[in-house]
């Protein structure tokens, strides 16, 4: 039995689906979001640590994240809710020559994209973060306009605004099939009902591949497990997100910041990667990540770890998301594969996808669509993961 007809149905009330629903409904479209979990942001979004930066190496991601920063940084004055936005900046620190060379080599393209990021010598970096281990510190980049916000509060705020604009959310409901008629997705079937739609957006993140396979389009998105830790709160010490991209046994990148409550949030990129949708923590995580923390900022050996958690990065082979339509199948938009950056890409992507749906794209946005298409070669590499 057909329940209802919507302009747009979105699979997934996560980092991308929720703000996209907000902008689409604000643009006057009727929107239904179908989410298998009990409330928004429960799959991967809430596992984000809250970092938001435009300092990537790929122009489309830089563009989308700059838009996101505009939204996050003005949210409180626009809507009144405090989502804990803080422009604390990002600092990629260099303790060896190879890292220094890599970071400096990216500055040109970042400057071309208009990013506010520069190289700072050891003393400048220590002035920003006096607790850093000075031994061997060669300096680092600092991008003061990057920052952080609370994924928990932001997710709730986007959901509330989407609802206020008329978007409907069905929680505890799973997409079970997509019905294609005349090369167009026309209906979405779930375990609870069946709905007609003008457009179906696949924003299912780590589960997007399964959903896309329902219409025979395979997209290379694999869930990749990451763990994170949060400490007790202490008096503010530093503002920036500190990133150390050296490789260490069991991990590649390591990054941490102090949130507005005073807690240190720290995590690392496992190397080799750990594939799958796992939620239980591994016993090797804390010994490894704590060692990296005291390596960069020894005084943090004194702070107490409060909680750890594990979430998934919907990874693509080149580290960039898959955003856009599919050739030969109308009414389908893929919006997944954000590779752990769904939270920072989210609101910018929501606006961008709304423009895609409404058909009024700027030339930069057209470039993004081309760059992030599902059938690209996936052979380039994001250099600042």
């Amino acid at each position: 039995m057909l329940h209802k007809n919507y302009d747009v149905i979105i699979a997934g009330a996560g980092s991308i689906g929720t703000p996209t629903a907000m902008y689409l409904s604000q643009a006057g479209l009727s929107v239904l979001v179908i989410e298998p979990l009990a409330s928004p942001g429960q799959a991967s979004n809430k596992h984000a640590i809250g970092g938001i930066r435009a300092t990537h190496s790929d122009p489309s991601k830089i563009y989308l994240c700059e838009r996101s920063i505009d939204i996050f940084s003005t949210w409180k004055e626009t809507y009144g809710d405090d989502i804990d936005w803080r422009a604390g900046g990002y600092s990629f620190v260099a303790y060896d020559e190879a890292v220094e060379t890599t970071l400096k080599s990216l500055l040109d393209i970042q400057h071309q994209m208009g990013l506010n990021i520069d190289w700072h010598d050891t003393q400048d970096i220590l002035a920003l973060m006096p607790q850093l281990d000075p031994v061997g510190l060669r300096g680092g980049t600092f991008s003061p306009e990057d920052g952080s916000a609370s994924p928990l509060k932001s997710g709730f705020a986007f959901w509330q605004k989407a609802q206020q604009a008329g978007a409907e959310f069905h929680f505890n409901e799973k997409v079970s099939d997509l019905i294609v008629e005349n090369n167009r997705i026309t209906q979405v079937r779930t375990d609870r009902g069946q709905y007609a739609c003008g457009l179906f957006i696949n924003a299912a993140g780590g589960w997007a591949r399964q959903i896309s396979n329902m219409v025979g389009i395979d997209i290379p998105i694999e869930p990749d497990c990451h763990e994170a830790a949060i400490s007790e709160p202490v008096q503010p010490m530093f503002n920036a997100m500190v990133v150390d991209i050296r490789e260490r046994p069991g991990s590649s990148n390591f990054y941490f910041y102090q949130n507005p409550k005073g807690q240190i949030i720290f995590c690392m990129t496992p190397y080799p990667q750990v594939w799958g949708n796992r939620r239980q923590n591994s016993s090797s995580f804390l010994p490894m990540v704590c060692k990296r923390l005291v390596e960069v900022m020894p005084v943090l050996g004194n702070i107490r770890v409060r909680r750890i958690w594990r979430g998934t990065y919907p990874m693509t082979p080149d580290g960039n998301p898959i955003f856009g339509p599919v050739e030969g199948l109308d009414g389908y938009l893929i919006a997944s594969g954000t590779c752990g950056q769904g939270f920072m890409l989210g609101p910018g992507t929501g606006q961008f996808l709304t423009n895609v749906v409404l058909g009024n794209l700027t030339s930069v946005e057209k470039d993004c669509l081309h760059k992030l298409r599902y059938n690209r070669s996936f052979d380039s590499k994001e250099l600042l993961k």
């Binding site: 239980q280 060692k291 050996g301 750890i308």
Partner: protein, 706 residues
């Protein structure tokens, strides 16, 4: 400076002296060896340990059990739980006011003291009654066992229990005091080979690689990989949200028993208790034993849920027990000073106009227990072979926990292929009986006989208990052996054989037996009652007010004799006095404390929304019932979302106190819990310093090399 240490106690003896100097706010204090900071501070009159970062509200102890994190102080520069950190010589302790400043000196990294990965046949978490008895079974079966406990001595909550245990004498040491059972069990495990116990060692999480991380000796995190995991983590106390519920002086009954019975600290003068279950009733009795005035006890239900004999003990002592009453609010500025109570209707709603105000300096919350079962669930999720025993499995009396541990220990030994006998079917039956709730209540009944000497049982409720039937040297007392919940009977046919030894009177855990002697008296009888008080008023020649079973005063008599009972050297004595024949059998106790008088309630009772906005559900983040109820009313059904918006349960304790309250709020709003999504429970169970996870590689010369 006040000295709140208990110097004399009818049961407990402590010969240690407070000899360890330390500083509180630069003032010189002294602690006993190995004493926890919280007890040392409260022994010297400190009740406010910090002020909350969010609103500067004063905070004191709440659980005193390492669960809630409310008692944080700064010790030698580091934030710690006062109840889990022992005072060290010259320790500098200050209140944790606002956010702590992280020490800006690098921590010392030293070579590992312990082996970082341990493989073992059985890991038992929790050395309380269940864990210890399981360890005994497993150890005797030849299993390789590691038992860990977060406290500094084995015994779990047995070490707080100064009262004699109920249950079956044959099965679980009934009639022996909890503190003595703890020693007996700890002695039994000492003799086992292949057995190791780590005290001061907290399990902090169960991981996907079937590993349990243990914060060993509060020094280093080690990975334990057991073949089988046994969760014997006991229970934690439920909380209650009402205005003033986080004031210093409002805390759990378990915390109170820890202070009074484990650490011999008398934390208050005038106590009020919320909850008429066994925990609240026993805590009240322990208070009286420690010389603390008990101003009253409220129970929302029309009757106390605990054993009637426990309730009677309190009532006879002079404690007003208000059933069908609730607490409306705790009042005070830096500390609780008064409690407001009111009668409730059949829907548990307060009835306006029935408010009463009592002075008190401490308010105990004793509204039930819930299993500490998060390790069990986590171990199941990762596919470990895991068992639970005792309160971690099902809340019941400690006697049932002892037996539950014994059964589960044997089951695990079997699974491990050890050569152990089949578990007798009778064990399961015994466990069920020990777990049973208070049963049928009988009318007050006394034998008609008015000659000779015999015991009178003021024991009218079916509970699993049989010590009296085992201590009679002449075998004159009977309890159905097949079901020890049945009431005891004295064989009046053989009345001439009673030698008036008083052992039954002194052994009864409920203090519910009197001895009545009609011999050689005209119109009167000699009544003997048990006494477990060190009270200067209980002396030969002094008057006492004898009461009936409900605590109603029958008359005043003069104490004739006070004596110990041959063969019983653990504190109970018998007092005797002469009473008229017509009253003698009805006398079941005597008044010890002068009942408090209520103050007048002035002004208007708080409105429901004010109550909600002044009642704290999440103590760590200070989130009120109002904030949570508004979300529930707005349609939120996922507790994860309540967390996301309010940060409730995201504080230091990780939801150990508030999640249960939040679930109850959903139920109160008429929402079936099946519609409510629970949040996941994640490591770490307690906060652990970053440095204690790190295993450094040490080069020659002691240089750290990460």
């Amino acid at each position: 400076m006040p000295d709140n240490r208990i110097k004399s106690h009818p049961i407990l003896i402590d010969e240690t002296t407070a000899s360890i100097p330390f500083y509180w706010n630069e003032q010189l204090f002294h602690a006993k060896p190995n004493e926890m900071i919280s007890s040392a501070l409260m022994a010297q009159g400190v009740t406010v340990f910090r002020h909350h970062v969010k609103d500067k509200s004063p905070q004191g102890i709440f659980c005193a059990n390492g669960q809630c994190s409310q008692c944080m102080v700064i010790a030698n520069g580091l934030p710690v739980k006062a109840c889990m950190t022992a005072v060290t010589p010259d320790m500098k302790i200050v209140p944790a006011d606002g956010l702590p400043v992280l020490p800006q000196s690098n921590p010392a990294f030293t070579p590992s003291k312990f082996q970082r990965t341990v493989e073992i046949e059985v890991l038992i978490i929790g050395a309380g009654p269940a864990g210890l008895s399981a360890a005994v079974q497993l150890g005797n079966a030849g299993a390789n066992v590691l038992l860990i406990d977060d406290k500094n001595q084995p015994g779990g909550k047995l070490v707080l229990q100064t009262h004699r245990f109920f249950g079956s004498k044959q099965a679980v040491f009934a009639g022996t005091r909890g503190i003595d059972i703890a020693k007996k069990l700890a002695d039994q495990v000492k003799n086992i080979s292949n057995f190791e116990i780590w005290i001061n060692s907290t399990a902090i999480g169960v991981f996907e690689d079937k590993t349990v991380d243990v914060y060993r000796d509060q020094k280093e995190v080690v990975h334990v990989k057991p073949e089988i995991l046994l969760i014997a983590t006991g229970a934690r106390e439920r909380s209650l949200a009402f205005p003033g519920n986080t004031l210093p002086g409002v805390y759990g009954a378990g915390a109170f028993q820890t202070l009074v019975n484990r650490d011999l600290v008398k934390p208050c003068q005038n106590l009020f208790i919320i909850g008429g279950g066994n925990v609240g009733l026993i805590a009240g009795y322990h208070a009286i034993q420690a010389g603390i005035h008990v101003a009253g006890l409220v129970e929302a239900a029309p009757y106390c849920g605990g054993y009637k004999v426990h309730k009677d003990k309190l009532a006879r002592s002079g404690v007003p027990i208000y059933t069908s009453h609730t607490v409306l609010e705790a009042r005070g500025s830096e500390k609780v000073e008064q409690v407001v109570i009111a009668k409730v209707d059949e829907k548990f709603q307060p009835i306006p106009g029935t408010e009463q105000v009592y002075d008190c300096d401490t308010l105990l919350i004793a509204v039930g227990l819930e299993p500490v079962d998060e390790f069990y669930s986590a171990a199941k999720e990762v596919g470990m072979q895991v068992y639970a025993a005792g309160d971690a499995k099902e809340i019941a009396e400690a006697s049932a926990a002892i037996f539950s541990g014994k059964i589960v220990g044997s089951e695990i030994a079997k699974v491990l292929g050890k050569d152990v006998p089949e578990i007798p079917a009778i064990w399961k039956e015994t466990e069920e009986i020990l777990k049973s709730r208070p049963g049928k209540l009988y009318e007050e009944y006394y034998p008609e006989k008015q000659e000779g000497v015999f015991p009178v049982f003021h024991c009218l409720q079916e509970i699993p208990c049989n010590p009296c039937a085992n201590v009679c040297p002449k075998d004159l007392i009977f309890i159905d052996e097949a079901d020890i919940r049945h009431l005891p009977h004295f064989d009046l046919e053989r009345i001439d054989e009673c030698i008036a030894c008083g052992r039954c009177v002194a052994t009864c855990p409920g203090l519910a037996i009197s001895l009545v002697d009609f011999r050689n008296r005209e119109g009167s009888a000699l009544v003997s009652l048990p006494v477990e008080q060190d009270n200067p008023n209980i002396e030969v020649g002094k008057p006492i007010q004898a009461t009936d079973i409900e605590g109603r005063i029958l008359d005043e008599f003069t104490i004739d004799k006070i004596k110990s009972v041959a063969g019983l050297k653990d504190g109970t004595r018998l007092i005797s006095f002469e009473a008229p024949v017509e009253l003698a059998k009805r006398i079941s106790g005597f008044r010890i404390i002068e009942p408090s008088q209520a103050q007048a309630f002035e002004g208007e009772p708080l409105k429901p929304e004010d109550i909600d906005d002044q009642s704290y559900v999440c103590r760590c983040e200070r989130i009120t019932a109002g904030e949570i109820r508004r979300l529930i009313k707005a349609g939120v059904r996922d507790i994860n979302q309540i967390k996301a918006v309010t940060y409730a349960s995201m504080g230091a304790c990780g939801g150990k106190t508030c999640l249960n309250l939040i679930r109850r709020m959903f139920a109160a709003e008429g929402i079936p819990l099946a519609e409510v999504t629970d949040p996941p429970v994640r490591p770490a169970f307690v906060e652990v310093p970053v440095k204690d996870f790190v295993e450094m590689d040490f080069k020659e010369g002691g240089q750290n090399a990460a």
